[in-house]
């Protein structure tokens, strides 16, 4: 890797990381406002115009809250859990392309090597991109289990147990739902999968791999513990589940990890199933239009998550497991078999 490529990667890291942070704080506000709209309320609208400064106020508030360390807690695990959670949440974005490749404009003040250079808004284009995402997601589960165990609180413990069981079983469905699209694209690279969906709209995996789409959307919701799968923190049963004892910035980190995971899932749905930055019109759009289309798709998925939360009650633990093992995994498995057969006979795409 040249120094130039390294510099570009560093800039990308800073930009993408902060874009995520911004999106996270924006999401907390948007979620509250959208939910409020669905529930005939106003939501936070006092801090700044339209309540835009509410995330800032929340951040300041959380910073100045007292850090509570419960008696009898395992300090090591208690401190480590939020860190693991946030690191795993942010690692996944390293291999995700956040838009089509584009040429930098050529302005006079730019160094020669930047002028007109082709940039892919992706930090690292790993050969095994999807597997990497899958792996860091799996490590993220340990954070929740650790948090639940270390806090020495019975509700936290139950929450931790629930989430470990839930994550392990839904990760299986989640991984299986990807197999079909990997076979269709013939690559683990997220960028390749998006490019495989170029062309008319029926080339999107949403249509090519509809069962996988449904499975992934459901398993993804479960993976980020959103309603109706928010059992690990099932408020009315387990108070706040695994993060009952967390306060101040540690609480904020856990919240942040959850939101970032949610954003990652939404981004992946847009990239893997909704054609990413392709418009589905049969021709390649200019990069900016493609990027906006991509953002719109991510926004729609995020809205869908909020909508779910505003509509559905929570599953019961055993029903959730039944649903995962008896419905989602068989669907995903059958989908793999059918796709494999079709690919073998007809070839990719």
């Amino acid at each position: 890797m040249t120094l130039q490529a390294l510099l570009i990667a560093l800039v990308l890291i800073v930009v993408i990381f902060h874009a995520h942070l911004g999106l996270f704080s924006g999401m907390t506000l948007i979620e509250r406002r959208v939910l409020a709209f669905m529930q005939f309320r106003l939501g936070p609208n006092r801090t700044g115009p339209f309540g835009l400064l509410q995330p800032v106020a929340d951040g300041i508030k959380l910073f100045f809250k007292e850090e509570v360390m419960p008696e009898g807690a395992n300090k090591f695990g208690f401190f480590l859990a939020p860190m693991v959670a946030i690191v795993c949440a942010f690692s996944a974005m390293a291999v995700i392309p956040y838009g089509p490749a584009f040429h930098l404009p050529s302005f006079g003040f730019m160094p020669e090597w930047l002028r007109g250079r082709l940039i892919t808004p992706q930090i690292a284009d790993l050969e095994i991109g999807l597997l990497f995402i899958f792996a860091v997601n799996a490590v993220g589960v340990y954070a929740i289990v650790m948090a639940g165990w270390a806090a020495n609180n019975k509700f936290s413990l139950l929450g931790g147990l629930r989430s470990s069981a839930q994550m392990f079983s839904y990760e299986l469905a989640l991984g299986l739902s990807w197999v079909g699209i990997i076979m269709l694209a013939g690559s683990f690279k997220v960028g390749d999968i998006v490019e495989a969906q170029a062309g008319p709209i029926w080339k999107w995996n949403l249509f090519m791999q509809f069962p996988a789409f449904v499975v992934y959307l459901i398993a993804g919701t479960a993976e980020v513990s959103r309603l109706p799968f928010d059992l690990p923190e099932g408020e009315t049963e387990l108070v706040a589940g695994f993060h009952t004892e967390y306060s101040s910035m540690k609480f904020a980190l856990i919240q942040m990890a959850e939101y970032v995971n949610m954003i990652t899932v939404a981004v992946l749905v847009a990239l893997l199933f909704l054609g990413g930055w392709h418009l589905g019109l049969g021709f390649a759009a200019p990069p900016l239009v493609g990027f906006l289309a991509f953002l719109a798709k991510v926004g729609a998925i995020l809205f869908f998550f909020i909508w779910l939360r505003g509509t559905l009650p929570r599953f019961r633990y055993d029903q959730l497991m039944d649903f995962g093992w008896k419905i989602l995994i068989p669907i995903a498995a059958i989908n793999i078999l059918v796709t494999a057969g079709l690919v073998a006979f007809l070839g990719q795409r």
């Binding site: 408020e235 049963e237 929570r314 019961r316």
Partner: protein, 570 residues
């Protein structure tokens, strides 16, 4: 109109089959039979207590299966009462549509009585309460410990010689409610008193094996203020504001029930217009109460939106109630013999606006919930209560009807003119949470029907009785006429003086049969006022219901029982 000066009749030879069978069974152990104001009361000796209860419950001709109430009365130094205490049991026969009160005198020197937990499951908590408040020991009771007062409380507060200014230092909560088996590796979890699913402050201690509840025990009393003791030092009017604080989600209905009970004691009915308005506001209160119950229940399941949906209709109803009496939550709108004032001129239009809102909200709520598979899965076959057990526990109202027993006071013993209105009583088939939910939804529809009929024929006329010994004279007369002024003064100063005697007045509250057992000694204060709180008996069964289920099921069940702390702890 009956005069308030009427005295109780001498005990007559009753022709009731209840008395005949009890006499056959118990012979001269039946000490006394009273029939007054339509209430049948049988006094038996202490020896025959359990046998009498057993006969009432199991004799096929009697079939008094529904346990209602059990309470103590303290006759300290009263003439005509050789024994200091008295325990009164109220039971009801659904098949014969008949209430009966069984009483037993208990001497102070040996304040014990055999338990009837073996006959009526619901007697468990009521006996604990009676022990707690009166110090009457129930022999053979499985867990005779304090229920409403704190564990280290000293004395029995409802006794007439209890010094009310006495204060106790109550330091620590009871740590263990359960007996944990030796060597058990299971986890004890305290759900409450401060837990998101416990709406109000009450506590359940559960022995958990993973997510499964092995054993559970409930503790209540965190909101106990001894309403009944307070009522003993208030005139009959002054009790009304306290009734608002019983079931505060449908405050008007408590006042309605109380006023009817006192009116039964006095023999003074309220005028038709007042009764019609009472019915309308009671039904609106029932709708509100059901809305809150359903809303809070689904919040427990994680769905918050339906809660906000139903709150909109509640707001419209509160606006209507506010227009009538100026208050929203604790209304104090009823008066003995009628209402505090007439409704505003545009009452009907306002009521129709509220109905429109209720209709709109109900249809939205049903769309969100009734056919939602996740919701149905959480509710179906969860918390199943058989009809027989429900009766024995003393379940009433939507919970009892959810178990398939079509007992509704409005239908079976119409009051306030309910006989004029056409409505149906929905019943469930399985007795699970889903049935209780469906019954509540259907009752909302039926309540709207009743309100519309009542609005259509709302009679004209006064809203309070013209009996000078019960109702205050109009203010215009007080200021212009010496008799009215004196009447006003005497009534405020002396209060209403009902005849000596006792009645059990009952209405269909939002949670079921809300009873007021009033014992009067002819004075201006009630000598004893016992509330029969519906959710007290319902919640008593809760810790039995959740055993063997999942924690999530316990949360789904408790919301559907609609436990209101104000009514539970009184």
């Amino acid at each position: 109109m009956a005069s308030v000066l009427e005295t109780p009749q001498a005990p007559a030879a009753s022709t009731s089959p209840t008395v005949r069978i009890l006499r056959e069974k118990l012979g001269d152990q039946v000490l006394r039979v009273d029939e007054w104001r339509g209430d049948l009361a049988v006094t038996v000796s202490r020896k025959a207590w359990v046998e009498a209860a057993r006969t009432l419950s199991f004799h096929p001709e009697l079939d008094y299966k529904l346990f209602l109430d059990l309470c103590g009365v303290d006759w300290l130094d009263r003439d005509g009462h050789d024994d200091r205490f008295e325990v009164a049991l109220h039971v009801y026969s659904v098949s014969h549509k008949h209430h009966v009160r069984l009483k037993v005198p208990i001497p102070e020197s040996d304040a014990t009585l055999d338990t009837i937990v073996g006959v009526y499951k619901g007697a468990n908590w009521f006996e604990r309460e009676t022990w707690d408040l009166y110090g009457i020991v129930f022999n053979g009771h499985p867990n005779l410990s304090r229920l409403l007062t704190h564990d280290s409380f000293v004395g029995h507060p409802m006794r007439k010689d209890y010094e009310t200014p006495k204060r106790h230092l109550l330091k620590e909560a009871k740590q263990w409610l359960l007996k944990v088996p030796e060597g058990s590796e299971h986890m004890i979890v305290n759900i409450g008193p401060s837990h998101p699913a416990m709406h109000g402050a009450f506590r359940v201690q559960a022995l958990m094996d993973g997510e499964t509840i092995q054993d559970a025990e409930a503790e209540i009393g965190y909101m106990h203020r001894n309403f009944e003791k307070m009522a003993e030092e208030r005139t009959y009017w002054q009790v009304i504001p306290y009734t608002d604080r019983l079931n505060y989600c449908s405050a008007f209905m408590n006042g309605h029930g109380y006023a009817l009970a006192v009116e039964k004691l006095l023999g003074v009915p309220a005028p038709p217009r007042a009764e019609a308005i009472r019915v309308i506001l009671s039904e609106f209160s029932r709708i509100m109460d059901h809305f809150i119950c359903i809303g809070a229940n689904v919040v427990d399941l994680g769905a918050i939106t339906p809660f906000f949906v139903v709150f909109r209709a509640r707001e419209a109803i509160y606006d209507l109630i506010e227009a009538c009496c100026g208050a929203r939550l604790t209304v104090s709108y009823v008066r003995i013999g009628g209402l505090a004032q007439d409704v505003p001129d545009d009452f009907e239009a306002r009521a129709r606006t509220a109905i429109a809102s209720v209709r709109d909200v109900t249809s939205q709520m049903e769309k969100l919930l009734t056919r939602n598979p996740i919701f149905a899965n959480r509710f179906k076959d969860v918390g199943v209560m058989s009809a027989e057990d429900a009766l024995s526990w003393g379940w009433v109202g939507p919970c009892l009807r959810g178990s398939g027993v079509a007992y509704d006071v409005r239908k079976d013993h119409p009051y306030s003119g309910y006989e004029q209105y056409d409505f149906d009583v929905p019943v469930g088939t399985v007795g699970d949470c889903y049935d209780r939910y469906l019954v509540r939804v259907e009752e909302i529809h039926q309540s709207v029907r009743i309100i519309e009929q009542a609005l259509a024929k709302l009679p004209k006329g006064p809203v309070i009785t013209d009996d000078k010994k019960v109702a205050l004279p109009p203010k215009s007369e007080v200021y212009s006429n010496i008799e009215a002024l004196m009447n006003h003064f005497k009534l405020v100063y002396e209060g209403i003086l009902p005849p000596a005697g006792e009645v059990y007045g009952y209405t269909e509250g939002a949670n079921g049969e809300l009873g007021f057992y009033i014992v009067s000694d002819g004075g201006k204060f009630p000598y004893r006022l016992k509330v029969r709180p519906p959710c007290f008996a319902i919640y008593a069964a809760f810790s039995e219901m959740i055993k063997g289920g999942l924690l999530a099921d316990a949360v789904a069940i408790i919301g559907g029982l609609n436990v209101i702390a104000g009514e539970l702890d009184r």
